[in-house]
């Protein structure tokens, strides 16, 4: 009969630093609590909203609520798109009469809205869908462009009303649309397709689709799933490690001599995960997927400076700049645990802020995120992308008063 008693008697056991009789004492509990709470965001303030008006409606169902797209409209409202079994369009109105999330509805039978929501100055919302469940959707027709025209939407104590979502067209047959940007001056949308990276134009008035360029004809997706647009309507993106510019007046994608930074030997795994265009200063701030590096690229001089890694993990899945230029973002891979970080260009500081934990209106660790947008007053909205997701709201700390001749901090 097995019995390792004699071996146990010979073992030299570690010694506990506190009393053996008091294994769950007050001092231990306090020490543990302080240690644990050091890992959470304590700078600024976090809150979150569940994806429903509490007490009035059910949540967007678990498995359909991963928030993968966010946009702010001219009224300061936040529209979001989800991914999962089905995708939903939702609305969050931060004003007192709202301050809760409303599920506008499913977008047809589609399953993903991936960074593809735009808001026009007249309040119309356009979006696009893609296929996030490849084992579910075989014989995929392609992702839709859809529109939502807010007419008389309101939300208050007694209820809320929304309009209808309209599916418009499939711009690229057989492919989903994984990014959409708006050029309001030309009254067009630019989109990026999921597999071949087709850049296309969708004319809002004529509803015509024109394919302009293909980033990866092989269909293997060797390009970043992100587009940036400057006030002149020029697009920026990345393929095969190089940043490109696309001028819609031409039909040519041109490398601009800016390479994505990566750790040595890891260029082939690297994509631009998220980015912020600081047009006034001529910079792109970007986060890279392979190693979680943050960089700043000068669009004039083509100089790339690696700002560092906010945390010891890959991916920078979401990023947005608040009104004073500070950039807030989320690091962390799928299956990992997210960290919030801040890059302050004024003092060139990149720092980890910790794990997003909220305790109001509920106790919840924010573990996976995939979207971010800046709110009307500089608050940052982060979209959780878990099986059960919440709309997180981060209120950055207010900077100390500037005194001439002295540093900000």
């Amino acid at each position: 009969m097995i019995d390792i008693r004699e071996e146990l008697k010979k073992k030299k056991w570690p010694v506990r630093s506190f009393s053996q009789e008091d294994v769950y004492g007050q001092e231990v509990n306090e020490g543990r609590a302080n240690y644990e709470f050091e890992s959470y965001v304590t700078e600024g303030r976090l809150s979150a909203r569940p994806l429903c008006p509490p007490g009035r409606s059910k949540l967007i169902p678990p498995g359909e609520s991963a928030i993968t797209s966010l946009v702010k409209d001219p009224l300061g409202r936040i529209f979001g798109g989800t991914s999962g079994r089905y995708c939903h369009l939702f609305l969050y109105n931060p004003k007192p009469e709202g301050n809760f999330v409303i599920d506008i509805g499913k977008v047809g039978d589609e399953n993903s809205i991936n960074h593809s929501l735009v808001s026009l100055n007249d309040g119309r919302i356009f979006g696009a869908t893609c296929n996030a469940n490849e084992d579910v959707k075989t014989n995929y027709d392609g992702g839709y462009i859809f529109s939502y025209v807010p007419r008389g939407d309101f939300s208050c104590e007694f209820g809320y009303r929304v309009s209808k979502i309209e599916l418009l067209t499939i711009p690229i047959k057989g492919e989903g649309i994984i990014y959409l940007v708006l050029d309001e001056g030309r009254n067009v949308l630019y989109g990026l397709s999921q597999s071949r990276g087709t850049i296309f134009i969708y004319h809002l008035e004529t509803k015509k689709v024109i394919e302009k360029a293909v980033l990866d004809p092989s269909g293997q997706g060797k390009f970043s799933k992100i587009l940036l647009i400057d006030p002149n309507g020029r697009l920026y993106g990345e393929r095969q490690g190089n940043m490109f510019i696309f001028n819609p007046e031409e039909n040519e994608v041109r490398n601009i001599g800016i390479k994505l930074p990566a750790l040595k030997g890891r260029i082939i795994y690297n994509r631009l995960d998220s980015a912020v265009l600081d047009y006034e200063n001529g910079y792109i701030y970007g986060g890279c997927s392979a190693d979680g590096l943050m960089f700043r690229a000068n669009l004039q001089t083509k100089e790339v400076i690696v700002l560092g890694k906010p945390t010891a993990q890959a991916r920078v899945r979401a990023m947005a700049a608040t009104l004073d230029g500070r950039i807030y973002g989320i690091t962390g891979d799928k299956g990992g645990i997210a960290h919030l970080f801040c890059y302050d260009p004024a003092i060139h500081e990149l720092k980890d802020l910790g794990i997003p934990l909220i305790t109001y209106p509920k106790y919840w660790h924010g573990i996976e995120f995939d979207s971010a947008v800046t709110g009307q007053w500089g608050e940052i909205y982060f979209g959780e992308s878990d099986r059960i997701s919440n709309l997180f709201i981060y209120y950055p700390p207010i900077k100390k008063k500037y005194i001439e001749g002295k540093n900000h901090n």
Binding site: P62, I337, D386
Partner: protein, 402 residues
Amino acid sequence: MKRIDKLKMFVFEELPVHDTIWSITTGKDGNIYVAICGEFIGGVGVYIATYDTKLDKVRYVLDVAEAIHEPPDNGRPTHSKIHYCLVPCDDGSLYGATHCTGAPIGEDVWRPWNCWLDSHKSFTGFHIFRFNPNNGEFKDYGIHMPGEGSRAMAHFQPRSKLYGISYPRNHIYVCYPEKNIFKDLGRIGDINPQAIFTDQEGNAYTTDDHGYLLKVLVDSDEIVSLNIKIPHGPYGPYGDGWHNVPYDVVQGPEGDTFYGSTWCYDSRLFCYHYKENKIEDLGRPGGVEREPEWIEEKYNHIGGLVFGTDDFLYYAAYLTWKEPIGTYLFRLDPSTRKHEEIGPMMVNGHHSKYISKATIDYSGRLYFAESLSSPTRIYIYTPPGVRKNEVRSEWPIGRYWG
């Protein structure tokens, strides 16, 4: 003070620094198996010991950390626990899953949030294993969720299917170890339930953060919310049942019921009729009607649920409103819903502070696992009419979940 007749205690002296037992179960051989854990000390691994119910003797049968090649002195957070994840099989073996929160050697505290990004101080991930205590055969099915521990587990024997709950990300997982199939079904909340249990058809049940029952369908593995919640206090504004997850659950003698306790301030007992999807609130420990006033008073704990061969539901409750404060043994008559206090769980002046779970042997003796004392111990209670070595039950006894 009242004493309980026929209550004795066994102390696991050979593991002098271990401090918790979370898992206790009955094997097919009728012996009691416990996982002896080191929660509050760094650098120790978890051990499985067996209490021979015929001989009243203990054997230490497995050094789990050594068996899964995760030595506790390698500087990494240890596999120092098997939480509610030691479950029996019909062939006499046991499935188990390890768990984290034990600190690396030389350290007193460790938390996954602080160390997730650390390549050396992150937890490797729980191992699922199978162990046959009769012949020593051991099989390690590996790590499927890096960084995470396994909080609770259930075994649906007809399909050799395991259901579990991971920590800290609070995902439900499904595993068919013999077929090398593992599925992560996704996140269910933040609070991390202490129990997952199965019905006779093989569906699994647990709750979300507010005590709403979730059902995992045995065929599709779809997670369905049943829109019914286990009872909680306080009621009124802000009394939404937050943190009211299940702590301990046992199958009722009726076959289509489960009896459970909640893991919350002001812990309560409940009965769940799963075929009707109906919940009964069985009240506070001892059936106490008075609403506890102070926060310290509310902090009671109910564990150690087990049905005796007399069909009473026995349970242990740590009560802050009694003098002396400590754990008391109760029994509930399911036919009348009346609670009866048996007495304090105190032997040789040691009054238990925390009973985690319980089980039963073939004769009807009850075994209660204690945590928060070092070394650890179990209590053995012989209910009236029960005689040691007189067989009153047949397999399966106990339960197939932790």
